[in-house]
């Protein structure tokens, strides 16, 4: 049913591309939640009006093209080193807003040490952590977050705790550290969860703007390609398999900066 000019003129624009999300086509696979997370970060930057003073640090993984999508300065870090690189940037430019965007191989495997120490030092940065239970970019190998029994290209008969250990719960782990100011886990599988996710990401940036210290948001995400699922089944898996093991919620929220 075609609209006439009057109807068109009366329509209100309620949803548009965030200003700092570039008008390019994502390289992500269909149904991949990296697209949602990237967008939510861009929205948060717009909403706080911090585009001119935000610096992103991209991990190595499917997020590696972050500089193509978010219209802020982005520095690529070597695999796993994003938190250390971000610390360096932030110490030189404490007035800038510095965030990292990392996957679970990048942050929870090879980069675990610097992530933990960055949180422990209470560096005033924001970490966006995409947990999709596999190394996505390299083709679906077992990650530290891979669920028990989950098949991957390096655990063809499913992950076993004997030998492979248990899926690592980053949010819970970081919440134990004094230096962490805000730690939350969210998911992208339903509109409601997406709204919660957006709130948490915004909150994390707000903590940094208010100089509260280290803020961390773990986002449970689907990797339909490496899970061998269509996007809808992949979102169902997030709900059925991931959230029971990786509960959603806020694990830590400081109300005053710890040096106050």
């Amino acid at each position: 049913m075609a609209m006439d000019a009057k109807q068109l003129a009366e329509m209100k624009k309620v949803y548009s591309r965030p200003e700092c999300l570039k008008d390019t086509i994502y390289h992500f696979c269909p149904g991949c939640n990296h697209g949602n997370v990237t967008r939510m970060v861009a929205e948060a930057i717009d909403e706080f009006g911090i585009k001119g003073r935000t610096i992103g640090v991209a991990g190595v993984g499917c997020c590696v093209f972050l500089y193509n999508y978010i219209d802020v300065d982005v520095m690529e870090a070597p695999h796993g080193r994003a938190c250390a690189v971000a610390t360096g940037i932030n110490r030189v430019h404490p007035e800038k807003i510095v965030f990292t965007y990392q996957g679970d191989g990048d942050l929870a495997a090879i980069g675990l040490a610097e992530t933990v120490h960055t949180a422990n030092r209470g560096e005033n940065i924001t970490v966006i952590f995409v947990n999709n239970t596999v190394y996505g970019m390299t083709g679906g190998q077992m990650a530290p977050t891979t669920l028990l029994g989950q098949k991957s290209t390096t655990s063809p008969y499913g992950r076993e705790f004997m030998g492979d250990g248990y899926p690592i719960k980053m949010a819970e782990m970081l919440a134990t550290l004094e230096g962490a100011a805000f730690v939350a886990r969210v998911a992208c599988d339903t509109p409601k969860n997406l709204m919660q996710a957006k709130k948490a990401i915004k909150k994390a940036f707000k903590m940094q703007i208010d100089k509260m210290g280290f803020s961390f948001v773990e986002v449970l995400s689907a990797c339909p390609t490496n899970w061998g699922m269509n996007p809808l089944d992949a979102y169902k898996r997030v709900d059925r398999e991931m959230t029971p093991y990786f509960p959603l919620g806020i694990f830590k929220e400081r109300t005053t900066a710890d040096y106050l």
């Binding site: 590696v64 690529e76 070597p78 695999h79 796993g80 495997a109 090879i110 675990l112 190394y135 970019m137 390299t138 083709g139 190998q141 077992m142 530290p144 290209t153 390096t154 655990s155 063809p156 008969y157 030998g163 492979d164």
Partner: protein
Amino acid sequence: MKQVLMGDHAVARAVQLARAEVISAYPITPQTLIVEELSEICARGELDARFIKVESEHSALACCMGASMAGARTFTATSSQGLLLMHEIMHWSAGARTPIVMVNVNRAIAPPWNLWSDQTDSLSQRDTSWLQFYCENNQEVLDTVIMAFRIAERIFLPVMIVLDAFILSHTSEVVDIPDRKDVDAFLPPFKPLLKLDVDEPHSFGSITGPAEYQQIKKMRHEDMMDAIRVIKETDDEFEKIFGRRHGPVSAYRCENAELVLVTTGAMSGTTRIAIDRLREKGMPVGALKIRLFRPFPAEEIASSIGGAPKIAVIDRNLSVGAGGIFAQEIKASLYGKATRPAVFGLVGGLGGGDFTPDAIEDIAKRLLGAQAPEADVIWEEL
């Protein structure tokens, strides 16, 4: 049995045939096919190995070192950034005299990111006391991995086998896969010289003063130099059983050559095609493939060049501030010789540029007419 295999899968088959007991690795493109295939092989029970998935390459090699000290035959594989992260443990594992075998798929170093072939990753490890072999095709990859275990376990130094990203790692070729019983005959079970053993307690890696330290380094150097002999013997024994040998270097149509093209890795086969074409046209050119980089086969290189007045070393690698790494090493090794050729140091194909037969033919034609190199580094735009 002949099979069509990608280079990475040839590695996995070789490791299976060699009956590695501990494999530890972290994924990185274009090595991933090796570890994926090995984890499948282990999971199917076709190789009785512990496959240890760790959180980084640094830990992967450290894990192999522990396993080797505990008496197991160990293997790891990596590429580029992963190899660079292993650097500390490369020195350590060689110093600990652990005969680990590693495959490195040559890939360019970031930044900028690039997934394609470039030898700077492995050549940057030249001072770590690891042996290094550069392979030309997937058959050589499979054979060299099997030989590597035998060499490593004879001289108690670790061995790295290198293959070009994608050009070999992901390209299918016909590979003759040896029989299991023949490989068992060629490669007996690993017998550690020293190992962690409660019945015979030792401690490893203690502190030494300058005198002992230098003595230990000297021994390691001498053992590394002696490895050339062991490598040749291993080649002889391999040939007896499998009918193939690969040699530290191999010369092709170098007789009466005015110009010898010196290459490594996958471009060596391409170079021979170019040489055949040029020889047909009556041009006096030959080729020399270098398979072994550490220990450096200086004598073998000098004698293979023969009396050629000019050689052109084609380096798919770069030591920034110095030039192509094979060219540097060859120049240094020829310096003391009474007659030595003019050495043209060519650098090209960094980050994956393709050396086609035409490109190599052009290089040869150009240099046949040249008197002396116009610069230390001659850049080849492909």
